[in-house]
Amino acid sequence: MLELKIKGLKRDIVEFAALVETMIEKSVKGLLQRDEKILREVIVTDELLANEFDIRIDEQCINTIAQFQPRARDLRTILMILKMGSDFERLGDGAVSICKSALYLIERPPVKALIDLPQLAEAAIAMLKDSINAFIDEDSESAKHICGRDNFVDELRNSIIAELTQIMLKDPTTIERTLRLMDITRKLERVADLSTNICEDVIFMVQGRVIKHGKGE
Amino acid sequence: MNKNQVQWLGFMFLSLTMVFILLVLGLILYFIIARGIHVISWEFLTQVPRRAMTQGGIAPALVGTFYLTIGAIIFALPIGLACAIYLVEYYPKSIVINIIRLSINNLAGVPSVVFGLFGLAVFVRFLGFGVSILSGSLTLGIMILPGIISATQEALLAVPQSLREASLALGATQWQTIRKTVLPTALPGIMTGVILSVGRAAGETAPIMFTAATFYTRGFPGSIFDQVMALPYHIYALMTEGTFPERQTAIAYGCALILLILVLLISAIAIILRQRQRQYGTV
């Protein structure tokens, strides 16, 4: 019975993850293609769906804990799903805020050609997808591997921020638009950070070993 | 004296009591066997008595005891069973049932000679059955009735309530529950009680003295209105009547030995049944 409940919870969290992925993808796509319709869709429709998922997963986790008193790995899994739920909710909020910035940007002339940003988005979303897969497969090895990819994303972000800073210094009239771009960059980098968190949690779930905050290495 | 010594003394006393009881039992057996064994033969068991009891056998007495006992059971078993089932299974538990139960227990304590007198007054005289197998059987039946009722009651009460509930919960009626679950489960216990009552009926003298038994019949009884010879009464008669007291005494011991063996056999059957019930594990 508990097994079934956990299965259901996993299915829900995976659906939630898929929703958040598309929200981020859509927000970047809307920005690049200057498509207002897509951006509004994320803000109006998807956000509501995300909130519903968040509430439902919270409830299900608490009910399952109250009803079944899960222990050991079952308990770790449920606690992790609970945490992932609130992480995804924040990512969803992030996607919404990217969309809002994008709506501001697409009404104005572009500061620069966006080349690195889509690359960053792609890398971060790929990390998110892979970390979810690691969670589904309970694969702590690939989880460990994914954590390593965070450095690449960090470097990419640093170079984008540096470039944007240069643009601001050269032409102060771009400051408002450039700040929005910086914000979007940080939001995308958060996706990679949270993916790293998920991978650490997968390792905790599978091996019961804490590796975050530099522990256990 | 420390407590271990006290315990030792206690056990010592208990052991001595046991030895005493076994001694008494052994003495009884010894005397009866020693004095009775030499008159017992195939002829003794199968022949009618001849020459004023001093020759021949005791076959009519054996047959008479058999008839009387069977008659008593035929009469007492259905009534006793029905009464016990009614009291345990149907009757609403109340003060009335306790009074009835008390009466039955009191009936068990009535001396057997009183039953004899009752039988004489009611069956022999009032109902006009005369001194006969019928009167004797009915009298014996009434005497063993309380025993059968209380043994059956005990056996029924020992059937766990949970079995009754299981049966009723399946949609069985109360009667189906009694017939198909309670009675089969209680049967070994009931049989034990019945067989012990049979032993008692076979061995009693007083109830049949005025109602059925006679000192001598020429052959075997032909109908239930005939008088019969019976083992316990035969022993009594051999010791108190007749023309050759010395020779009769030896025969009386032979009869006593036969009666003893008979009663022991019946008790043994009861013990075996109880043992089987335990193995069956009805609890």
Binding site: F68 | E165, A166, A169, L170, G171, K180, T185
Partner: protein, 255 residues
Amino acid sequence: MEQYDNVRIRAEEVRFFYGDKLALKDINLPIFENKVTAIIGPSGCGKSTFIRLLNRMNELIPNTHFEGKILLDGVNIYDPDVDVVAIRRKVGMVFQKPNPFPKSIFENLSYGLKVNGIRDRHYIEERVIKSLEEAALWNEVKDRFNESALRLSGGQQQRLCIARCLTVEPEVILFDEPCASLDPISTNRIEELIENLKQKYTIVIVTHNMQQAARVSDYTAFMYMGELIEFDRTEKIFTVPRDKRTEEYITGKFG
């Protein structure tokens, strides 16, 4: 909650007396179709008394008195013209201690059909096998039909009792602390069984084991000193109970 599920049994203003002691005080409780309803509460709260009213088992106890109504599909089972035997066939019961008859396994299972007048040997065998399968006992006893039921283990005996109850095709099954005398593994199997049985039957279970109620039931009723304190969906009772006494009981502060 009632708009989603069908009410199968409804207790209305139920009061029950042992002598002149009031054991149940105005109980109102719905039992939903194809759901597991658990009744929990400390010893002596009246939960067993209540469940035994649902198939009129308490009538066997002398000097008791019932007031109120228990409606099964809208019909009061305490109406004078209602046949108690028919009610008990419709509302089966599994008891606290496994109580197989001291008969063979097959006789245990054919008993219910026979007392209900079924003679067709073929049909009886079919029902027996079906019930054993439903009770997840078939594999363990299929070669042992003529053995005494008392030779089965405690957990097997209890599953036999469940199978025995299923043979007469009841619609509601009452479980009166079915795992009280069983070890954890047998308990687990019975719980899984209950979970499966609810597809087909409406189930009421009395248990003093809160965790068990939480695991197996869809609805939970909490009783205390003869009163129904709270009734709700199980997850509500175990996460946000409304009554302080429920909260104290399920958090182990009393009982």
